[in-house]
Symmetry: C2
Subunit: 499 residues, 2 copies
């Protein structure tokens, strides 16, 4: 097919790239210090280049042997990449410009802002005095951040009040700094975006990420959010990636604010933890699409092939690996769970040792299956997701409630998330139009509409949504409900009846 | 987690076992002649044992280093396995008895027959004279088969008439022989069955296999057959595997005869081509479940996580590998297709070089996506699957047809496979009970029932099936259809109306 060779720090991202590459008969050469790195463990055909992944000489040695260079970490020597790129013999993915722009978070923000991508307010900080100024402008708490070499919460400092300013600047004194206005977000979202060498862009579904101690803990796919917010987030992510030349996959992390506003937090120019779920849950994994993108092959479908998925990271709690096996032992008992252990030789507190991906027919089911796994990780900690409603139950008036609440109870019994509200065709027609037109986009799968008398609600809603609408004729004080029945069964679309 | 080492011929089955093993932090040692075999290419942590996979000394060398021995081919030295098993230091999976019984197809048949598993009639053949006798007993054509070292059609000879007897015996003279009555099957089915060391058994869905030149060409999952036949096939496969001690995964190949009878054809005591689809389409792959089984870990769910899947093998057509890349290039353009190339260095006619698995929301969709891939393999050859009906459309009388055929046309337009028949609640109540009770098992997903007058059909059918039933009130000569409408909307379960 194609022959590829590539540069890595051979960690877990490299390992999963190798999995995807070997299925396509692609050959991969790894540059990393250990000969038994997670990636190298599953690659025995190519000579290993032993050395630090950011050692310029070693990168050049690798480049002399390969057709395409790629990375699993952005903290590499961008100047060497730029030089190799200029020589034109080897394709560098992501481009040296992209790596250079992204590895400095302050530059990254400036770049995104210049293209109109929404980011939290920020300002460069040279000393404690400037941080105090920032505190006056942004208020407290605020985030003090290292511009470079920051990941998994390292290089971030939450400054709670002016009294902490000196300590914060001191703590991060080894790197250049900037301050960021505190983003009082309601959720964190992420989108994997893949960009082919020819500029074509595809994005994966919007997922929700839940962090613990600034390290990704859970990824929920798809995100249980309003569909309009998801659409906006996906757009922001795609627009952001359009600003970077070159090919590859990118992880885009975002905040959703209480008002639905999206702020881009940061971008990783490589496969990303928030995209691990794609291996089991999507038609093409992020790893395979990265390979396809950098080789200018057609991109694969990014659609989910299962209705719901949750990924949970397995972090080391100390040097004892057996702690990491506890959630795995639970996962072996659970339908739809796939364990990924990375073969790392040493276990350390906070180190990513593996992950587990669950898939299922509904988020409800996946969440239930996740419980014993989380319980094995952190006994006693209950974590219930707020599920996106799948069914919208509406009625013309609260006098219909006695009839409708029977249906609501059935949904509750089956554990199907739903919303319930009053929407009237005759008293609140504009609200009804809004409700019907946004229902599918907001993620509803069906609407149950109850109405008495002329009973226009189900039919009017059905006329304005592609979703199935179940009409419930409610008996009025006259005509014994036959009026509602006739009104509902004669609507232009198929309707459903409960008695 | 667990530490495993294992024996293989390191081909594609070994390769996919290694993929599954490495995700579980299992360590695998490979015994095979080439150092760059498909399996070894993705395993670099363990020393390679170079030698023939059926070399007794080498097997003993491997056994001295490992905890569990397993195979990817049954044509190994069963006596050595038995000796190792007896020593009791290393677990052998599948057991030496199983390997020995299965590697001789005649013994395999005798074994299965003794446990009441249905197989085609067969008889041992020592010479041409005995084959003529068999011809008299079974008729022609009949199958002459090598007892041992037979796979992918090798070692099989179709004897068309008595005149071919001498030639057939001569052609297969290198191995002991038996003859088998020709199985005039309508379909070939396969089921992967996994047996844990503790005796627990789980089976994967029944798939249909389509062979070309005696080599597996397509695997269709789930098989597009009557649910009752599928249930029977699954039962036969499970019962067959229950007769073998020890742990591991087994591929069970079967014939379905015109009368729905199932005959077991043969068993492979290892992962099997007909189970490749499980990697993308099931909650746990056959490879991972094999690992779990032989390590006595809990078995993973064998359920499909997508509605439909088809696997197509990529066979070499000559020494030119580029021929194999043609279907892959098409697969890159198709949603839900995953390419698996095995990294084999030499391409030969008929050699398995890779496979492509497609998944999708319906068999219709998968079949459509498969088309360009097959066209790239064998231009001009059209292959249309007969799809299992998803919708049952019934009506009380053919006088309802003018109303019902409108719905039938809609199903046709959307490409949804359906069946249409006359079933009357009052005239053929027993047939109606049969129809309703078997509907779900036969694979229907919904029933559309039309009736006029008292219109009992939809309600009665709905009372006897878990499937959703869409009732269509047909207007009679009196009462303008209100009688049917009232009858249908007041049935005990929810019903749907078309107008």
């Amino acid at each position: 097919m194609y022959w590829l060779n590539t540069i890595y720090k051979g960690g877990q991202l490299g390992r999963m790239m190798i999995e995807a590459a070997s299925r396509l008969n692609l050959q991969v050469t790894i540059l990393d210090a250990p000969i038994d790195s997670p990636a190298k463990q599953i690659e025995s055909t190519q000579p290993h280049i032993q050395g630090a992944f950011n050692d310029a000489t070693k990168i050049r040695e690798l480049a002399s042997q390969v057709d395409v260079l790629t990375v699993e970490i952005e903290h590499v020597d961008a100047a060497v990449l730029a030089a190799i790129e200029t020589e034109g013999k080897v394709r560098v993915c992501p481009s040296a410009f992209t790596v250079k722009t992204i590895q400095d978070k302050y530059n990254q923000k400036k770049h995104l802002e210049s293209f109109g991508i929404p980011v939290a307010e920020y300002v460069e900080i040279a000393n404690a005095e400037e941080l105090k100024e920032a505190g006056k402008r942004f208020g407290y708490p605020l985030m003090l951040k290292s511009k470079t070499m920051a990941y998994d919460g390292k290089g971030n400092y939450v400054v709670k009040n002016e009294g902490e300013v000196e300590k914060a600047v001191e703590a991060l004194s080894k790197t250049p700094l900037y301050a960021e206005k505190w983003a009082l977000f309601v959720k964190e979202l992420a989108v994997m975006v893949v960009r082919r060498a020819n500029g074509e862009i595809l994005s994966y579904p919007v997922v929700e990420t839940i962090h613990k101690n600034s390290i990704c803990h859970l990824v929920i796919a798809p995100a249980q959010i309003d569909g309009a917010v998801a659409t906006k987030a996906q757009k922001v992510a795609e627009n952001a990636i359009k600003t970077f030349p070159g090919a590859g996959i990118f992880g885009v992390e975002m905040f959703v604010m209480a008002n639905g506003e999206i702020l881009l937090n940061e971008i990783a120019p490589r496969p990303h933890n928030s995209g691990h779920y794609t291996i089991e849950a999507c038609e093409t994994s992020q790893y395979e699409n990265h390979m396809r993108a950098i080789l200018d092959m057609p991109l694969g479908s990014t659609a989910m092939k299962v209705p719901a998925s949750i990924m949970v990271n397995i972090l080391g709690s100390n040097s004892d690996m057996t702690e990491c096996y506890k959630p795995c032992q639970e996962a072996l008992l659970v339908d739809g769970a796939t364990i990924h252990l990375y073969g790392k030789k040493e276990c350390r507190a906070g180190r990513k040792m593996g992950h587990i991906t669950l898939v299922g027919e509904s988020m409800m089911q996946v969440q239930k299956n996740l419980k014993p796994i989380l319980e094995a990780m952190e006994p006693g900690v209950e974590r219930a997701l707020t599920l996106r409603p799948l069914v919208g139950m509406i009625m013309g008036s609260d006098s219909d409630l006695p009839v409708m609440k029977v249906g609501a109870q059935i949904l509750k019994d089956f554990g199907i998330p739903f919303e319930l509200s009053i929407v009237s065709a005759h008293r609140t027609p504009a609200r009804m139009v809004d409700y019907a037109e946004s229902a599918a986009e907001r993620g509803l799968m069906a609407i149950i509409a109850g109405a008495g008398g002329a009973a226009h609600l189900p039919g009017m809603v059905a006329a304005m949504t592609p979703l199935p609408v179940i009409g419930v004729p409610v008996k009025g004080s006259h005509l014994d409900g036959v009026d509602s029945l006739y009104s509902i069964v004669q609507m232009p679309v198929s309707l459903h009846l409960f008695f």
